[in-house]
């Protein structure tokens, strides 16, 4: 047996201390297969060794949570015996190396996490962050990532209903591709991963195992350096067609009661999935690797255990149900193999060619998985920027036009046109609004889905930024009229071994935790992606939030488009003109300064609950939450979406006009109504500041007597940037 040298240990990403622990657990030197298994199980990606301590502090429970973090995805009750199952995951590193396949397999992976639990995926979302537009790699990456996401989701027949796309130089060498899937299941028909039943068969289904993606999990846990281009680790190629068959076959089998436990093979493939199933069920596993369906006959045990080939699942069946299950998978032309049995030894025993090629204790390995309390330093709080220190623009309309035509505000139709966002016939609100809304098939209910993050804020003040990301997701769901239920998160950060990065992480988590508690908007699933760095340059802290909410009557959902002329426009919430870290400051002044807007969560909650009540009462014809760009950008967005202008009264507030127009104070909404009197009365009743700021109508957006710009001029600035950028040589 090969001798494990310190170099081999190092290549496997294990520290000396960690390897000592390996020796202690094994009581002997591991063989290479066993070492490989330790290495992936203890990688940052699978073990959460740097983040565990902090993730435990998140708010994860509310009465409607059926299953919080710890399973393949989170589950919330949506009434009538139905549950929404959802999660977001990153595929940043593979997408940077091979944008099409990296992004495609990211989408494939997150969908598997959802249908593993018995849910039919009903919506995909994607949150993308690229480097600055003129970086030489950006366009190529955008093209590949978008095509890859589209190709996988479209082929699966799951609509991609929304997402985000931001450009910032901090992502030049490290893009973010975060994909989220939402599924729906009956609460009585949810499947978990725990294995149980001595002697019960362990079954492998789906694609064959090949030599692809070996060490994907460890790659995701290492930062890039200059020769990344040279290393070019193997990236997996996805086969969405096979995954569609795996989905249908699994759901067909799940309609029976043959399955005890089921788990997809994601990062670290066969290793991670069998360990998780066994350790959750407190059982042992004996597996015969000769029986694993393979693409190449000469694959080693090491390769079989570490391969990250896509479109594979493992499950434990009730004994005697194998043939029934096999028939279903064969109907769908998929591989089906009984590859092992559960045992009572608490060990994972691997056989090949009649010999034992690996024998590891399950619980000790899982329990001893490292957990670090990494040193961290809190980000120092920036000073508040006085609006008086921000010069007023000569022409606020020109500034508005510049902003909505800038890369981060420009319309992203170029992207969502490449995603089938209507398949499944339930997309009530298509991409472009605050939240996507999909009908729960065959019911009058709807799910509202959003992804949000403002890295500018998180970078300046991780704690306030962490609060804000959760609040913004909550606000987006509220803005369509839905009741916010829960979130998933995808925490994208730099190298956690650097105390300032760890400080950003801790700050964001603490802020998120506080927001989740006050808004009763718990975290039910998520993912951590560290080491998003190139040459020591970390990305901005980017804790992407995926939120969902429910509408009991989807027909009551409102959009952000002005829908009729001569309606009053009501601004809800308090306006102070906060310009620190605003989009205005960044886009127009080129400055990245000051404290981000503070988030008062109690006010956030009060204002949002009031708005949701007004929508539910049918008082509101359009609603838009205020975020990036403030009132003026929000008005422009409502006007462009509805192809209708508005006349805004010159504000009489004592706040500088540009601060009033572009300030990013939180907890605010714009609503239109035919019955503004009742809207104002409802707001007053709830103690929520509200005032009529203007009326819809005409084909221009005007403020007071002197500011005016046509909606069509705004639209062309807004719509042309992305297609022009992508088609320019």
């Amino acid at each position: 047996m090969s001798k494990i040298t310190p170099e081999i240990v190092k290549e496997h990403g294990l520290t000396e201390d960690e390897y000592d622990k390996v020796l202690e657990i094994m009581g002997r030197e591991p063989n290479i297969t066993e070492l490989g298994i330790f290495s992936v199980m203890w990688s940052e990606h699978c073990s959460y060794k740097s983040s565990k301590k902090w993730l435990k502090t998140l708010h994860t429970e509310e009465p409607w949570v059926i299953c919080g973090p710890g399973e393949n995805a989170g589950i919330v009750d949506i009434g009538d015996g139905q549950a929404a199952i959802f999660k977001m995951e990153s595929h940043n590193h593979p997408s940077f190396i091979e944008p099409f396949q990296g992004a495609a397999t990211g989408v494939g992976g997150i969908m598997r996490d959802i249908f593993t639990m018995g849910a039919r995926p009903v919506a995909n979302m994607n949150a993308l962050r690229f480097g600055r537009p003129d970086h030489p790699k950006t366009k190529h990456l955008v093209n590949g990532v978008v095509a890859g996401i589209g190709s996988y989701g479209n082929c699966m027949g799951v609509p991609t209903v929304g997402g985000e796309c931001e450009f910032d130089t901090s992502y030049d060498g490290n893009i973010l591709v975060n994909a989220m899937t939402v599924g729906v299941a009956d609460t009585e028909k949810i499947f978990y991963s725990a294995a149980a039943g001595e002697g019960y068969p362990l079954v492998y289904v789906g694609s064959r195992t090949g030599r692809d993606g070996i060490h994907g999990a460890t790659m995701a846990s290492a930062e890039f350096d200059d020769d990344t281009d040279e290393k070019r680790p193997t990236v997996q190629v996805g086969d969405p067609f096979t995954e569609k068959l795996v989905l249908e076959a699994c759901l067909e089998l799940m309609a029976t009661d043959a399955i005890i436990g089921i788990q997809d093979m994601g990062a670290a493939g066969l290793t991670c999935s069998t360990f998780e199933m066994a350790s959750k069920g407190g059982v042992g596993v004996e597996m015969d690797l000769d029986l694993v369906p393979k693409r190449a006959a000469d694959m080693t045990a090491y390769e079989l255990m570490l391969s990250e080939s896509q479109e594979r699942m493992v499950m434990v069946l009730k004994p005697g149900r194998e043939e029934e299950a096999r028939k279903i998978f064969e109907k769908w032309e998929l591989n089906f193999a009984v590859v092992g049995r559960l045992t009572d030894t608490g060990r994972l025993v691997l056989k090949m060619g009649g010999e034992i090629v690996g024998d590891l204790p399950i619980d000790p390995l899982a329990e001893a998985s490292p957990e670090y309390d990494r040193p961290w330093v809190a980000t120092s709080k920036p000073a508040i920027l006085d609006a008086a220190d921000v010069p007023a623009p000569n022409d606020p309309c020109a500034a508005l036009k510049r902003m909505i035509g800038s890369p981060n505000f420009a319309q992203k139709r170029w992207i969502w046109d490449q995603y089938d966002h209507m398949v499944m016939g339930d997309t009530v609100q298509r991409p472009g609004g605050d939240s996507a809304v999909v009908r729960v098939h065959g019911t009058p209910k709807g799910l509202a889905i959003t992804t949000d993050c403002t890295p500018r804020y998180c970078y300046a003040d991780p704690f306030e930024g962490g609060k804000q990301v959760v609040a913004e997701a909550w606000r987006n769901i509220t803005a369509v009229g839905a009741k916010p239920l829960a979130i998933t998160d995808c925490l994208n950060f730099g190298n956690p071994e650097r105390p300032e990065i760890m400080g950003q992480f801790v700050g964001c988590i603490e802020g998120m935790g506080e927001a989740c508690r006050t808004l009763e908007f718990p975290v039910v699933s998520g993912n951590v992606s560290f080491y998003n760095e190139t040459r020591g340059e970390g990305i901005r802290p980017t804790p992407t939030i995926g939120g969902i909410g429910v509408l009991t009557d989807v027909a009551k959902a409102v959009s952000c488009a002005f829908s009729a002329a001569d309606e009053d426009i009501v601004l809800i919430g308090e306006t102070n003109g906060h310009l620190g870290r605003s989009a205005y400051l960044a886009e127009i002044e080129g400055r990245d300064e000051g404290a981000p807007p503070p988030v008062d969560l109690a006010i956030e909650r009060r204002n949002g609950d009031a708005v949701r009540g007004m929508i539910d009462d049918g008082l509101v014809s359009a609603c838009h939450d205020l975020s990036d760009g403030g009132v003026f950008v929000a008005l422009a967005e409502m006007a462009m979406a509805g192809d209708m202008g508005a006349a805004i009264d010159a504000p009489d507030t004592g706040i500088a006009l540009h601060a009033w127009l572009f300030g990013e104070d939180q907890a605010r909404y714009l609503v239109t109504s035919r019955d503004a009197k009742t809207v104002l009365a409802k707001a007053a009743e709830a103690g929520v500041p509200a005032s009529i700021i203007g009326r819809t109508g005409s084909d221009r957006l005007t403020v007071g007597q002197s500011l005016s710009i046509s909606v069509s001029e705004l639209k062309s600035a807004h719509e042309d940037w992305m297609p022009n950028f992508m088609s320019a040589p």
Binding site: A147, N154, C155, M422, V423, G425, V428
Partner: protein
């Protein structure tokens, strides 16, 4: 009207079109697995959209050889109506029940959005509930919708009034701006000579419910029910 939807591995608009048909008929619409070799008594067969066999070789090419297609051909000969939507249109051209082929979109990208279509003929069970030259709004969602055929076939299609829909601009004008995928002569859907087979790239089932943003697809299904009352 008795209708059935054929399901290939990779079909994914099968349920969507089933919903639309059931909405118009008020009766269950059967789903038929492609490996079946026999069909029940039927008035309408739908070949739905999606990615049969992943569309890895050519869209629809592999599905065209599925066992059920022999039976579908036999039924069309006896006059049963067949509607192929999107990937279903691919399957119909690959089986040569309809002429021509659908190539990659001229822009080489998948396109999902509402487009305007001009109704070119009302003399078929599929289009009888529209008016000639009516402009309707129906979504497309495809990678390969770029209709191509030889000039003689094109002339024949036109001479025989077999173009069912053309892509157009909002005013009904046939021009490049209104043509999303480069289709020859802006063709979005065609009929066979007997006029009982329609292949079309746009998805009428996607706008047959007001909640989803429009109902211009609805007259097709309602019209089929009226024409095919059994």
């Amino acid at each position: 009207m008795k209708a059935a939807v054929i399901v290939f591995p990779g079909s994914n608009c099968d349920r969507d079109v089933q919903v639309s048909i059931e909405q118009s008929t008020g009766k269950p619409c059967a789903m038929i697995w492609h490996k079946e070799t026999e069909l029940p008594e039927l008035d309408l067969i739908v070949i739905p959209g999606g990615f049969s066999y992943g569309d890895y070789l050519r869209s629809g090419a592999i599905a065209a050889h599925s066992p059920i297609m022999r039976e579908v051909k036999a039924r069309t000969d006896s006059g049963v109506a067949v509607l192929g939507i999107c990937n279903g249109f691919h399957v119909l051209t690959e089986t040569q029940l309809l002429p021509g082929i659908l190539m990659r979109n001229a822009g080489l990208k998948f396109i999902c959005r509402d487009v305007d279509l001009r109704v070119e003929t009302t003399s078929s069970v599929f289009t009888q509930n529209y008016a000639k030259d009516q402009v309707i709004r129906i979504p497309i969602a495809h990678n390969d919708g770029n209709y191509f055929t030889d000039p003689d076939t094109l002339k024949m299609l036109e001479d025989e009034d077999r173009v069912a829909f053309r892509y157009c601009d909002a005013q009904g004008g046939i021009n490049e701006a209104g043509n999303p995928n480069g289709s020859m002569s802006s063709i979005a859907g065609i009929l066979n000579r007997r006029r009982n087979i329609l292949g079309m790239m746009p998805h009428p089932e996607r706008l047959a419910d007001q909640l989803l943003g429009g109902i211009d697809g609805r007259p097709m299904f309602d019209g089929l029910v009226e024409a095919l009352v059994a």
